[in-house]
Symmetry: C2
Subunit: 200 residues, 2 copies
């Protein structure tokens, strides 16, 4: 087969795949997760069930692929946000704020993720966490963030904490959530500020 033909097939496959993921996203948004079936997805994507099964073995696989696509697009956006900002402290704050607003407006993709992957974290999610961990490491090296907890653990903490944004009703509440999360990243204060064993 000439190369052009292969490319046409390839781009057709990409288009079908994208249509399947879009259809699934809108079904999930409309009806929640559990009741989505392969037949419904095929119908919403405008393809036959047999075709759908050529692309994905089951609903789980589609949801995982959809989620990976979401996270990758978030990651791209967050990289842009980082590149617009100078200094690791400010970069972390801007990225956390952007992520909080993604969680706030999005269809709870992160929940989703963990649900479907359980202890096995998806590749895109790992990249997202690694991206944030790098910024936190630079900030810790610059004395801006705590060093008593590894950047990777802090990154996981931040991503979870900011998912609280999905249930918040105002922009101000999202900004407060970012502020509270940023507080947790500060270096611990010198040991005299009243947290001793006074039993309070």
């Amino acid at each position: 087969m000439p190369k052009l033909w292969n490319e046409t097939i390839e781009s057709h496959r990409d288009a079908v795949r994208a249509a399947i993921l879009d259809a699934t996203a809108s079904l999930v948004a409309d009806r929640g997760l559990a009741p989505v079936t392969m037949s419904q997805i095929a119908q919403a994507a405008g393809i036959g069930r047999a075709t759908l099964y050529k692309y994905f073995p089951d609903v789980e696989a589609i949801l995982t692929a959809w989620h990976e696509r979401q996270i990758n697009s978030h990651l791209e956006y967050l990289s842009q946000v980082r590149n617009r900002t100078v200094g690791p402290g400010q970069q972390v704050e801007s990225v956390l704020e952007a992520y909080a607003f993604l969680s706030h407006s999005g269809p709870g993709t992160a929940d989703f993720a963990r649900l479907h992957q359980g202890p096995h974290v998806g590749l895109a999610q790992q990249h997202l966490r690694g991206f944030l961990a790098d910024l936190l490491r630079q900030g810790a090296d610059a004395g801006r963030f705590r060093r008593d907890v590894a950047p990777d653990e802090l990154a996981a903490f931040c991503l979870h904490a900011l998912e609280a944004a999905s249930a918040l009703t105002s922009r101000d509440a999202v900004l407060r959530l970012v502020k509270v999360t940023m507080t947790a990243l500060q270096p611990p204060p010198p040991p005299h500020s009243g947290s001793g064993g006074s039993g309070s």
Copy 2:
């Protein structure tokens, strides 16, 4: 019908209901969420499909009921933890630690919850958040926690942040997560500690 007969029916219904929820929990634990069907649940619970439909209209409703039961049992446990501890500061720390270990060992019930309920938060989840918000309010009144963010928002922040425990591999990592979360609750330091606009 005599009262005794009603009570027998009632306790039989409770037993069937509990068996359905148990069966669902073990199916979900084994296979993840999306593929669970009413037939599988009926089979795992040892009842007919027709009987199952007398109890629950669909998988979604079962998952919601199961989740409510989980959260209620967590809430009961967390109340005991609180009652064993003195002073709002210590109480919050003990409760957060206990919750983190529940998330660490459990099958990610919280994810689950939000997934299935979306913006509508379940009653049990509301109670859990309210329970924690009360402790945080007492701690804020005692000067132990920050007052610039409402206790309810702080409670939501904590519950989300601690879900990071579900992916942690060690007990020490869970304890570090609790420490980081507690840091976020501290009153903001007086405004001189280097967080000014130095563009870091």
